[in-house]
């Protein structure tokens, strides 16, 4: 063999060895994407920048994950949030370091408050530049510590696969929530062997799994003794997928059911036992029922101040059964006589078994009678008008046109409360709103996430003229991705909810709530390539909604509504639930 041939063979085998090493060892970016695939991630909402280019370079190559380029990182995180709410699967968003990362903060806090599973991945400056106030550096793990379930700063590429695995586990188990992974740029290009750990080692993380049988017994006993029970369902019922069990409990006991804003959809609005929403803008009959109840069964709720009003008078005659997966919620705001830590679905299953075994036969006739009287006496109502569009009317029409089968997303404000009051939800994961943080600008990007999850569905984003301007850049994303989202703007030319407070509690001093200087929303729609319609007469509402719902194009419907309309009933902040205005 000639020396030249020998040398060539050696070179070739060396190449083979190098190739083999390359195959085994992946870059951080490759590890990240491979791990995301293993977690079943199908779609990522994100925005590229200097620190995450290597990840985007890998995304360029991958075929298994769809990436949606939003126009703002806040759009990405809310879209991931909406996707998670619609599917129950964790939403994933990706941003670069510094401003990219900090633009996620509102959306992360939003997901945290509403217990939505989310994995936020941020680029970070290279490890050697960390802590030097480098270009586009922000301590995002530090910034997000109080608003995440956990946050990671990856310092060794060999930890990355494990961290991704842990992040998804943390985001989705126990009380769901957002988890952040901060990924320095050099980690994304360094190489390591891809090992996906089958077992997780989180000794401090023990989400409650066992339901305490004695507590279930006590709860059953309290239910059997109740004369005026009310079931109060929250977002935890939807997260746990416990709607069936909730319906079974309502049917078995005959107890009326009310819900928090986050619980909307957990129980069908059309059900005769349904009282609608409780709290500040709840129905009068829900508020009276809770006020006079002798047993309040709180399921996956956290007794937010928008629900309880004045804490010291909240359900003051009632024993409270409180079931929640997060033990820290038990007794946080309202003292529970029977606290039960655990998954609502499992706890309800156990409770139903015990109740059935004991022969649950409550006589609630007089309680039901009383509630029916309240329903007759104080229904949700507004003055109908033939000349001017009432915002409530638009919601009612959306309900009729879509037969209650649409996916409804809202922004935050008066329109949100009207949507909660007047839209009739029939099933969970069809009504999406920023409950805890109250984030204006949530709706439009969240609607993108919902529509990505359900491409064929009719999605309506019910918006105010204020909120829609907080993330309206996402119209570009919507049109570019051919998402047939319908935006119904209830345009009252005001920051309506603040205006309402100013009218009622600040002597009608409308300080900076007049939205003069709005864009022409029809032209805005057209500028982005969507369809825009302005609707000014009540009789035109329905045809416009029908056109939008039937069309595969994105629509912006600018409903010019009565400027002076307020949301009633209203429990003023800090007042008791029976002290309602405008009931």
């Amino acid at each position: 063999m000639s020396s030249a041939v020998l040398e060539e063979l050696q070179v070739r085998s060396r190449d083979d060895v190098n190739k083999a090493i390359k195959e085994e060892h992946l870059t951080g970016a490759q590890i990240l994407l491979k791990a995301l695939e293993k977690e079943g991630v199908e779609v990522i909402f994100g925005y590229p920048g200097g620190a995450n280019i290597p990840i985007y370079d890998e995304l360029y190559r991958t075929k298994n994950i769809t990436h949606i380029l939003t126009r703002h990182e806040q759009g990405a995180v809310h879209a991931a949030d909406g996707y998670a709410r619609a599917t129950g699967k964790p939403g994933v968003c990706l941003a670069t370091s510094g401003p990219g990362a900090t633009n996620l903060v509102t959306g992360i806090a939003n997901a945290y408050m509403d217990s939505i599973p989310l994995v936020a991945i941020t680029g970070q400056v290279a490890l050697g530049l960390l802590g030097r106030d480098s270009f586009q550096e922000a301590d995002i793990t530090g910034i997000t510590t109080p608003i995440t379930k956990y946050s990671y700063l990856v310092k060794d590429v060999r930890d990355l696969a494990r961290i991704v695995h842990e992040a998804f586990h943390l985001a989705t188990t126990g009380r769901p929530g957002p988890v952040l992974i901060d990924l320095p740029k050099d980690i994304t290009v360094q190489k390591a062997e891809f090992k996906y750990p089958p077992e997780l080692d989180l000794p401090g993380y023990k989400p409650r799994t066992m339901i305490n049988a004695a507590q279930i017994g006590k709860a059953a006993q309290a239910i059997l003794e109740a004369k005026r029970p009310v079931i109060f369902a929250g977002g935890g019922v939807i997260n746990a997928g416990a709607s069936k069990e909730l319906l079974a409990l309502a049917t078995l006991t005959g107890a009326p059911v009310t819900y928090s804003l986050m619980g909307k959809g957990a129980f069908p609005d059309a059900h005769p036992q349904c009282l609608g929403m409780v709290g500040m803008h709840g129905t009068a009959y829900a508020n009276y029922a809770v006020w006079e109840s002798d047993l309040l069964i709180g399921l996956g709720v956290r007794f937010d101040d928008r629900v309880t009003g004045k804490l010291s008078t909240f359900a003051s005659q009632a024993k409270v059964i409180h079931i929640d997966i997060d033990p820290a919620e038990l007794g946080k705001n309202v003292v529970a006589h029977v606290p039960i830590a655990g998954d609502v679905k499992e706890a309800l299953s156990e409770l139903l078994k015990v109740l059935k075994a004991k022969g649950c036969n409550l006589d609630l006739a007089s309680w039901r009678q009383k509630i029916d009287n309240w329903k007759r006496e104080y229904p949700l109502r507004y003055e109908k008008s033939g000349n001017v569009i009432k915002p409530q009317y638009v919601i009612e029409q959306i309900n009729e046109v879509t037969k209650g089968e649409a996916y409804i997303v809202t922004e935050v404000g008066q329109h949100q409360m009207w949507a909660a009051q007047y839209y009739q939800s029939s099933k969970p994961r069809t009504f999406f709103t920023s409950g805890g943080l109250g984030t204006m600008g949530f709706g439009l990007p969240a609607a993108m996430g919902v529509q990505m999850a359900h491409p064929e569905a009719v999605v309506f984003n019910i918006a105010g003229d204020g909120s829609i301007q907080m993330n309206s850049q996402e119209f570009a994303t919507i049109v570019h991705n051919k998402l047939p989202i319908n935006v119904a703007i209830l345009n009252n030319h005001y920051l309506g909810m603040v205006r309402q407070w100013q009218e009622l509690f600040f002597g009608k001093r409308y300080s900076h709530t007049d939205m003069t200087g709005q864009p022409d929303f029809v032209k805005l729609a057209e500028a982005y390539g969507a369809v825009g319609l302005r609707v000014e007469k009540p009789e035109d509402v329905r045809p416009a909604l029908e056109e939008a719902a039937a069309s595969p194009r994105a629509y912006i419907l600018d409903f010019v509504v009565d400027e002076s309309e307020n949301v009633f009933p209203m429990v003023p902040a800090g007042a008791s639930l029976n002290e309602m205005l405008g009931r």
């Binding site: 510590t145 109080p146 989180l202 401090g204 033990p327 038990l330 007794g331």
Partner: protein, 169 residues
């Protein structure tokens, strides 16, 4: 009332921030916090003294326990436990009065660990009462600097069988 919590946490970066941040954010009153690693280098132990009524302490405990890095949390307030704090005091000590200070040091079974031209550094360990007592005994001489570790505490008797103490949740 003051409660003493023994908290085992994972020895990871950011743990102290998470715990301190939790107290700050939720408005709990932290009295002292001492931290160091245990026999297992992967686990640190914190002794946290918190002031508050039962409701507050329950919330503190539950919220702490929620943190992913917290492995175990025990309220040892009502247990029999041994607690210690260490203090270093730099006190004015002209040669003329050193004898007097040394007597005090003797009484408290403390130690002098450094002598300067006009000052002494005294080291003492003991429970909070003793530490307070030695500090006030030395105050008349003029204290220049004080550093205290905060309380560390351990239940008496065998591990995992600490009387009435309850592992919370």
């Amino acid at each position: 009332m003051k409660h003493t919590l023994a908290v085992l946490v994972e020895n990871r970066p950011g743990v102290l921030t998470r715990i301190a941040g939790l107290f700050a954010r939720r408005g709990y009153n932290i009295d002292s916090l001492a931290v160091g690693r245990t026999d297992n280098p992967l686990i640190s132990r914190m002794t946290i003294v918190v002031d508050g009524d039962d409701r507050v302490i329950e919330q503190v405990s539950k919220q702490l326990y929620k943190l992913i890095d917290v492995i175990k949390l025990t309220d040892i307030t009502n247990d029999e436990y041994v607690d210690r704090e260490m203090i270093l005091i730099k006190v004015n000590a002209d040669p003329a009065i050193r004898g007097e200070i040394m007597q005090i040091v003797e009484i408290f079974r403390a130690r002098i660990v450094d002598i300067g031209r006009n000052s002494l550094i005294i080291e003492a360990t003991g429970d909070e009462g003793k530490i307070n007592a030695i500090e006030s005994a030395l105050r008349p001489f003029g204290i220049r600097e004080v550093v205290r570790t905060g309380k560390i505490a351990m239940s008496r008797g065998p591990k995992h069988k600490n009387g009435k103490s309850q592992e919370l949740l």
